[in-house]
Symmetry: C2
Subunit: 189 residues, 2 copies
């Protein structure tokens, strides 16, 4: 993609006026969850990144220092918790594309986990942020599964148009940057 000077400028202007400028999508979700917790709306957390610890230096007992460790593949999604008695489980992804979201951005075991969560009575979904467009969509895990299966023999991505038709648009905000529970209220509860 070529960055035309004019286009770049106009984007910069947009970013400067955006309430969440400089924030990556993960921070936006985390801030939203914090708002939910602080206002006693829901208890949803991001799981820690799984790390395989190989060596620890115990010289100072108070602050054991890990000196060798490796990132592990997560076996589940990043976020889960409880809202109005319902189990909530989701994965959040960001793409710079202006046209579609590549399915390969979600691991197969995450799709399996989302499906299982739904089949056991939870509400599970992905949230995708088209950062260049500043558009956020929630897509139910059943639809995610459909597009995932399609990608095995056909299209390897979910188009923006398909998000418009199958997903729920989430309006970006300031205090709740990604107010996905409003969508949950509207479409699930």
């Amino acid at each position: 993609m070529i960055n035309y000077p004019n286009k770049k400028n106009s984007q910069n202007v947009k970013l400067t006026t955006s309430a969440n400028r400089g924030m990556n999508f993960e921070s936006m979700i985390n801030r939203t969850n914090e708002f939910y917790r602080d206002n006693d709306i829901a208890i949803i957390y991001k799981k820690p990144i799984p790390i395989q610890v190989v060596n620890v230096d115990y010289k100072s007992r108070a602050a054991a220092r890990i000196t060798e460790a490796y990132y592990k593949l997560p076996s589940t999604t990043d976020y889960n918790g409880v809202y109005k008695g319902k189990y909530i489980d989701f994965e959040a992804k960001e793409t710079k594309s202006k046209t579609s979201f590549p399915i390969k951005n979600i691991h197969e075991h995450q799709i399996i986990h989302l499906n299982r969560s739904r089949l056991h009575g939870g509400i599970s979904f992905i949230i995708v942020y088209f950062s260049s467009l500043e558009k956020i969509y929630l897509l139910d895990s059943e639809k995610v599964d459909f597009f995932y299966k399609r990608s095995k023999t056909g299209k390897k991505s979910i188009s923006l148009d398909e998000f418009d038709k199958n997903g729920c648009y989430i309006k970006e905000g300031y205090r709740k940057p990604v107010d996905y529970l409003r969508v949950i209220d509207e479409y699930y509860l």
Copy 2:
């Protein structure tokens, strides 16, 4: 505590015949959750240990090596997931004591998290393993909160007798070492 030779011997014999000999309590819980997942009973995972990564060596892109990191205090409990549409949240603890469980083994923010999970409609509790007695109890978060508050001015621990009266006994097993969902079925659902 003094280890009388006779006593020690008899304990060794007991451990040798135990189905779960050599397993610590965490492994027993993890194996149980694996059984639940493999048999499509519930989707419950242990959360990764939160680690603050300070330095990463990217020399080999395939296996980024963390060279400096520290353990962080967890903000939630260790285990959560979904069972029959219900949000499940708990902390598992082990004690060698034969008489009581010290409250200080649970962090205050974990008590708060268990309370919040319950108030938002989840099922939250602690599971305590009296390893010397090979006895396992499940105690609802409301009771945990009661004993926690009591510890501020009074007794700093929960006695075995109090577990007997307020908790639910979990029978140790082989395929499901700590079958806590049987207790959930019986007392919650």
